[in-house]
């Protein structure tokens, strides 16, 4: 597809977020929101479910130069429906010029998207609501002190799933596959993005804007505070997540999936895990080989399936047996 985003040279320079927001230094979600807003332009209204980013606006300050509405955890897509309908009706009646139409963007964390707001998102997608949905996924309830959410991956330690004698690996369940849950609704556009891969992100948003109906984005959002890494490494971790195959970058147009960034050779997941305190228990005091291998196996499995179905060049996964004999 023709795109105006080929390199960082085409990065939009208009600024829609002022400095001075009260997010943590190095917040991955802020990077995504800023770039997302730049790609969409200024005519945007953000509907924000409870989460970290609701604290962008604390009276009397706001960093946003666009409109914003705050909803309860479960109801951001419902709020978006109301705003969309109101705009449509006002324009139909001629009370609002067509030029003042706004793009309705739902902004939620993984808690609202994966758990509490799942049913209202499902309803909005089913009704074919014309909106953007941006999830900043930091894989736990970061705002309240990093409790486990539906997005928490296997092996992560959170305040509600600490490593214990019974569960030495921390969280013993698996991360929900929200991409597939949403894809089963057959929306026009659905993609995963990561703050490190900016050109990929800009292209996807550009592609999405060509469709009418639900346009859904799930973004990895490295969280220095919750994941336990130095704030300067936010982008580095996001990049590692993609290169290790933990966070696949893909899009689905009317349900047809295509991977946009395919690592030729996967890096071992250990490189990604080691840098974060939430996985520290997998390495110290004793190395939990079984748990690390399990995470690696799941990643291998995923990418072998991708290369089989999409006909990419075979991605060389990490061979565990080979690694152990080294």
């Amino acid at each position: 597809m023709e795109t105006r985003f080929k390199t960082l040279r085409e990065f939009p320079l208009d600024e829609y977020l002022s400095p001075g927001a009260t997010m943590c230094a190095g917040c991955g979600g802020m990077i995504v929101l800023r770039i997302f807003h730049k790609a969409l332009g200024g005519n945007v209204v953000i509907v924000n479910a409870a989460g970290c980013l609701t604290l962008l606006q604390v009276y009397p300050y706001t960093p946003l130069k666009s409109s914003w509405m705050y909803t309860a955890f479960a109801s951001a897509p419902a709020g978006a429906q109301g705003i969309r309908d109101a705009l449509d009706i006002l324009m139909e009646k001629g009370k609002l010029p067509q030029g003042e139409d706004l793009k309705v963007v739902v902004l939620t964390g993984d808690g609202a998207a994966y758990d509490i707001g799942l049913q209202s998102s499902s309803g909005a997608i089913e009704r074919g609501l014309d909106f953007y949905y941006l999830v900043y996924d930091n894989e736990a309830y970061g705002n309240t002190g990093f409790q486990r959410s539906g997005a928490t991956p296997f092996g992560s330690s959170t305040t509600t799933t600490p490593p214990t004698n019974l569960n030495p690996a921390g969280y013993s369940g698996m991360k929900k596959d929200l991409f597939e849950i949403w894809r089963s609704h057959n929306p026009p556009y659905l993609a995963t993005i990561a703050p490190s891969h900016v050109v990929d992100m800009l292209r996807k948003i550009e592609t999405a804007s060509g469709f009418r109906g639900p346009k859904l984005f799930i973004s990895l959002s490295p969280c220095p505070t919750g994941w336990g890494f130095d704030p300067s490494e936010t982008i580095k971790l996001s990049r590692l997540a993609v290169e290790c195959g933990v966070w696949p970058l893909k899009e689905a147009v009317y349900g047809k999936v295509r991977h946009t960034v395919v690592p030729k050779v996967l890096k071992p997941v250990e490189e990604y895990l080691r840098r974060q305190n939430r996985y520290a228990h997998l390495f110290t005091p004793t190395r939990q080989e079984e748990a690390i291998n399990f995470i690696q196996e799941k990643v291998n499995e995923y990418w072998l399936k991708v290369s089989a179905t999409e006909g990419h060049e075979v991605i060389k996964p990490i061979n565990l047996a080979e690694k152990q004999t080294e």
């Binding site: 960082l8 040279r9 990065f11 320079l13 600024e15 829609y16 977020l17 002022s18 400095p19 001075g20 927001a21 009260t22 997010m23 943590c24 230094a25 190095g26 917040c27 991955g28 802020m30 990077i31 800023r34 770039i35 604290l55 962008l56 604390v58 009276y59 009397p60 300050y61 706001t62 960093p63 946003l64 130069k65 666009s66 330690s157 600490p162 703050p195 900016v198 220095p224 505070t225 130095d230 704030p231 300067s232 490494e233 936010t234 982008i235 580095k236 520290a280 110290t284 005091p285």
Partner: protein
């Protein structure tokens, strides 16, 4: 006692009791809450009753955070914020200039302000009204732990100033609290070294507090002009917050090496990197939080960082 005397209509009354009140001010991530806990536990180990609590709210890593510790030899019935502390521990000196944090507010006559500062100055300064203790805890922490986390040493320092708690008790409390947080043994070990160092560094001072009559705090009337901000009508006004004082390290651009590739501009989470007409970065130091993503991501290694040290009142 009737209800009226507990809740006077025009203010909150502070009662004086045989109790030591300590207030901690710092930034999210420095260990403010943990510090108040360590002090509380150390006091408990020394045979006192203790209570500690942080303010829960919209605090973030880097944002101003407050925590409280009360120490007494009898049951502590008082709850809530401490408005008139005997000791304030200012874990980040830049807070002194922050009009929202106001760490020194309400310090009792004869009370101690313990300030973590990189500024040179007399370690102990006694005046008629207050005692100022200056310590450079952050540099010690960077030396021993390698990160500016100062929860345990700040507690140690405050413990010594109370005159009630011995080093042994602080060390014991540090081990218990930090182990509970799940820190590695090696990290706890380093913290103990730091605690020991800072406890010894802290000057001796026996705290003498002149009793003050209970006083009422001013209650801001919502109808008064004082709470009206004309700026709230402006969108994107958060730059007025000046989050620049969250920094521990300051990024500095070497324009000789910069090629104008915009990577720092793209990845700045806070729009604190602006571009000049040549697409070279200009860092907005009033708002840069010092996450240092730009330092790490710059492909030309044209951005370095220095330790933030600024003079405050």
């Amino acid at each position: 006692m009737n209800l009226k005397s507990i809740y006077p209509p025009h203010g909150i009354r502070i009662y004086w009791g045989p109790m030591l009140r300590i207030r901690f001010h710092g930034r999210g991530g420095q260990g403010v809450k943990t510090s108040s806990r360590i002090l509380g536990r150390a006091a408990f180990l020394a045979g006192f009753l203790a209570q500690d609590s942080p303010i829960y709210g919209a605090e973030r890593r880097g944002a101003p955070v407050v925590a409280f510790t009360r120490i007494s030899d009898s049951v502590i019935l008082e709850r809530g914020f401490i408005f008139n502390p005997h000791i304030v521990v200012v874990m980040d000196e830049s807070l002194i200039g922050d009009w929202l944090a106001r760490p020194l507010e309400g310090l009792l006559r004869g009370g101690v302000a313990l300030i973590n500062t990189a500024q040179a100055g007399a370690p102990l300064e006694v005046s008629d009204s207050h005692v100022v203790v200056r310590l450079n805890i952050t540099d010690e922490a960077l030396k021993i732990i390698g990160r500016p986390v100062i929860s345990a040493p700040a507690a140690a320092s405050a413990a010594k100033i109370t005159g009630l708690i011995r080093k042994k008790q602080v060390l014991e409390a540090t081990v218990e609290e930090l182990t509970e947080l799940g820190l590695a043994e090696e990290t706890v070990e380093k913290n103990l070294r730091l605690v020991s160092e800072v406890y010894d560094m802290t000057p001796h001072h026996s705290i003498k507090i002149n009793e003050e009559p209970s006083r009422s705090l001013e209650v801001v009337d919502l109808r008064s002009d004082r709470v009206v901000f004309s700026d709230i009508l402006e969108v994107g006004n958060a730059y007025l917050r000046k989050t620049g004082n969250w920094r521990v390290f300051t990024p500095v651009v070497d324009y000789g090496r910069c090629t104008g590739c915009m990577v720092c501009y793209v990845y700045c989470p806070d729009s604190a990197v602006k571009l000049d007409p040549d697409k070279k970065p200009v860092i907005d130091y009033e708002n840069c939080k010092g996450c240092l993503i730009c330092v790490l991501e710059c492909p030309m290694r044209a951005i370095t960082f220095v330790r933030e040290a600024k003079a405050y009142a």
